[in-house]
Symmetry: C3
Subunit: 257 residues, 3 copies
């Protein structure tokens, strides 16, 4: 069984390795797939966008373990979730609630059965002591309902709603990728409702060039396009829009015609 | 068979990939598990703490390959070690000697049998030419005694001893993790011998707040706690104690009551 | 079947994870091996040196997927290549043309058969939509000729030729590794034609110390040696030659006697 790992642990510390050790101790046949250990520390929102762009592409048999967990050791719950056919273990901080289908998950269980945990359970490393062994047992076929109690309550994250008017769209930067591309909350389809030439803005920068792919523009040019996830994106061919436009998460983006 | 890799090679160079290629050429069924390729360059001590926090959690069948090797190509030996049921290959620089049980390893063999190596053996890349093929052969079931000669001599690292008095503990920062948490050489259990309210110091900073988990404190607060490995730790909830206190490896940490 | 991944995607974005998901959806038995996701963004030449130092060590059964692809979405082709017994999928930007044997590959196919792709195919993420599913189908045993049409045209990269005179060698830095070692285009064997003591230069720095391995010199000393790939290399024991000499790709390196 495939078990994927997504954490903010980095690689210079032994935390990811400890989780892999426990997982393989519980189920030596588990097939571990690293998704990322470079989620920015404690950045639950980043983790949520990351998962939304990754998990849906996996086969449903996989078990996804997400440990971006600023609330470790407090009363925040740990959840087992089935959503749109996918299965995951995550802290109850909303990191899974931007996934397609997350408005109506098939099943959400609050982990309570500590016989599937490692003991003693530390207060600061539930990745090793709860997530990894629970994932190991799941991958061995332990039925999820044995892990704890079904619940109807959990933390939800939202994406800020863009303003979509007939000739004017306004949204914000919600994710910045490794290349410095700025992904917004404006759906690419909303561009269809604009007539005439489009004028994008990010802060003081005006962008009039819309392309289908980065390489259509000269290197260094700021362009707008529709991202691989279908959202309006601002990019610089062979450069970083984030650096060039000094743009951050939350920066206002508008489109007018 | 699981073969884990721990190196200081980073990922932008082809060195890790070359090791994986050789390993899979010798044993196409080897199951490679990356522990870290972000050990700081040539930092044997960091590697030693990393391993102590990772290896004990693995099942004993695994073979651990560690290549943090500033002495590559010199006369330093390469060792096969069995310690507390775990098996590893490492340069003889002490990187495995902070592991539990390392004071009395079951077996230490100095690699000499070059028929298990790749030829020609370069002077600068034993990871590819010795470690990877030797690990591949081990994972195929070659008995360790065929790799070389048993030895009773090897390099040992030590952890500086803390000073533990009835009402005063003094130690130092021995590891800084990805989050900037400062792990010290003061055992958490030693805190029990202090009566009355505890007062921690790191450099000029006085810390009076002790917690069980980061999230108990407000974001940005400096706190003391017992780490997941049982040591006194100084942390900042959702921040970096290393940055906020400008603390480095070796910084003095005291606890008084 | 082993499928290796080499990209410039980093890990904080979901792109690598999405590729792994699609690959495992097409072939749940694929054994994914990460080579690197830290190729500098859009740096095709870096990718080419990386592959030349990694791919030859793998068993021939592996399928190598390389996505360093500044031309994604433009008319650049995607190639399936068989070279010296190895198999790879890569954008047609020359990234595979520094591999041994690349002057006469056994077979080069231009991917055209979109039934092996994911649909709809985005204009900006062919890693997910073309490379990953095509690799998945190859790993399931789909014969390569079904993927597209054989071609005799592709982009080639070259390594700048060094000047090799009886008592004078001149070349340049062509790769800088994770440790800051400077790898040049001067073959180590060419050193044999110099008589008398050798004098290396990088910019203004003169190096007279040649070693076999880093550890022969005192920490901080600049030395010349022959790299693990057989090229003249400038290094600093336990330091970074790139930083210490402020050297970049293309920096002139000479050897005289």
């Amino acid at each position: 069984v495939i078990v994927t790992l997504t954490t903010d642990f980095g690689e210079e510390s032994p935390y990811v390795a400890a989780m892999k050790g426990i997982l393989l101790s519980v189920n030596p046949q588990a097939r571990i797939v690293d998704l990322s250990h470079q989620i920015p520390p404690q950045d639950v929102r980043h983790a949520a966008f990351f998962l939304a762009g990754a998990m849906p592409y996996f086969p449903c048999e996989a078990i996804h373990v997400i440990v971006v967990d600023p609330g470790v050791g407090t009363k925040r719950a740990i959840l087992y979730v089935e959503v749109a056919g996918h299965r995951l273990l995550a802290p109850d901080n909303g990191c899974w609630t931007l996934l397609p289908g997350s408005a109506s998950p098939t099943r959400v269980i609050r982990l309570t059965e500590d016989r599937y945990w490692r003991h003693p359970v530390s207060a600061t490393f539930h990745g090793r002591d709860i997530f990894a062994p629970a994932a190991g047992h799941l991958s061995l076929g332990v039925p999820p309902h044995l892990l704890g109690l079904e619940t109807m309550e959990w933390v939800r994250l939202g994406i800020p709603a863009p303003r979509l008017e007939p000739n004017y769209l306004a949204g914000e930067v919600i994710f910045i990728d490794h290349f410095g591309n700025l992904i917004t909350n404006i759906p690419g389809k909303a561009l269809d409702q604009l007539r005439g030439p489009r004028r994008f803005t990010v802060g003081d920068t005006v962008i009039t060039r819309q392309v289908h792919s980065y390489g259509e523009a000269e290197p260094g040019t700021v362009v707008a396009l529709v991202s691989s996830e279908g959202m309006v994106e601002i990019a610089v061919n062979q450069g970083s829009a984030a650096k060039q436009l000094q743009a951050r998460i939350g920066a206002l983006v508008t489109v007018a015609s």
